[in-house]
Symmetry: C2
Subunit: 205 residues, 2 copies
């Protein structure tokens, strides 16, 4: 279904996740953004989104792309690397996190709201295709998902994925991802009812 104008209230409900039914292609460049808000201030490990691909590497690296964290740090998974960035996200307000990868140059930029919080220069690499994208939970073990894992401790909104690099001024505009878009009819929602919320940024766009 389309999630236009709706937020997803996970609220740590167990065995709750949302995924997309379209295929993610191999991407040499991408921008991935999501809006998140927390309902408490002492969260243990949470996942905002995770993109899992098949590979034979140790479990950590199965999260080919993802945004996670706890109450004191953001954890970004990008193409085999994991970054732990000390950051406390204030609860009860929306934050936008964007990951921008230029796989031709090998450059990763991480933005929190409009502020760049890390840049990494690495080697050229593409995002692997045909993986599984999920919001609110990490489906690391597809066949044996721990059904007692709490989902995201708050709400998620406006996940977008583009196959190119957006400038920082563009993040906060109401633009639809051209690979995955919040308002496209691609979302499969499990044990959660999307909530219409007229106060959301980009409610009307």
């Amino acid at each position: 279904l389309s999630l236009k104008g709706k937020r997803l209230d996970f609220y740590e409900r167990v065995d709750t996740y949302v995924n997309v039914n379209n295929t993610i292609p191999e991407l040499s460049r991408f921008t991935a953004c999501i809006d998140l808000t927390f309902i408490d201030d002492n969260s243990s490990y949470w996942t905002a989104f995770s993109y899992i691909t098949n590979n034979t590497l140790p479990e950590r690296e199965n999260i080919h792309l993802g945004l996670a964290g706890d109450h004191q740090q953001l954890i970004v998974y990008n193409l085999g690397k994991t970054f732990y960035i000390p950051y406390h996200l204030t609860p009860f307000q929306w934050h936008t996190v964007c990951l921008i990868w230029d796989g031709v140059k090998g450059t990763l930029e991480i933005f929190l709201n409009k502020q760049r919080i890390l840049v990494v220069m690495d080697r050229p690499q593409n995002l692997t295709s045909n993986g599984m994208l999920a919001l609110g939970n990490s489906l690391k073990n597809r066949d044996s998902q721990d059904k007692n894992v709490p989902s995201f401790p708050g709400s998620l909104y406006y996940f977008q994925l583009w196959d190119h690099i957006l400038e920082s001024e563009e993040f906060m505009k109401c633009l639809d991802g051209n690979v995955v878009s919040w308002e496209e009819d691609v979302w499969l929602v499990n044990k959660i009812i999307p909530t219409v919320d007229r106060r959301l940024r980009c409610f009307v766009s």
Copy 2:
């Protein structure tokens, strides 16, 4: 010569650098620390230390290990990756930066004073041996050093390099590196006179 009890006042003097005359071995684990203080608040690109190895990759990656920055960010070079971390280091006071690499796990930790400011999980890799270590400047082009490059905009002190991982409580103790030590007679000083300074931490140790 030994730099025990002495700081190095680079003060942006051009064509000024300091290096060591011992050979750096291949290291699967290391801890590298340095103390730095700035004499102004708007520095353009500076280098605290750089370790350059021979390789055929693009120039950026010749800095196999290093600490650099400008007035608004730290720049850490580690084994082919470059990290740009927004951080403003207050001038006129000493700061200690430590880089800790566990090349068996593939984990980098960056500490500023006693605070961990970034953790990166990457793939296992060793520090290449037989490179050239310099303080206060980056000797990227050994044969054609730009002689008008300003050196570090302040003073440097207490560079230490160990072949193992130190815990954060150990950084601020007065421990000598077992690969490179500040007080060993290994330093070659070019166009700079080390300054005795009794207020330095670890002046007597």
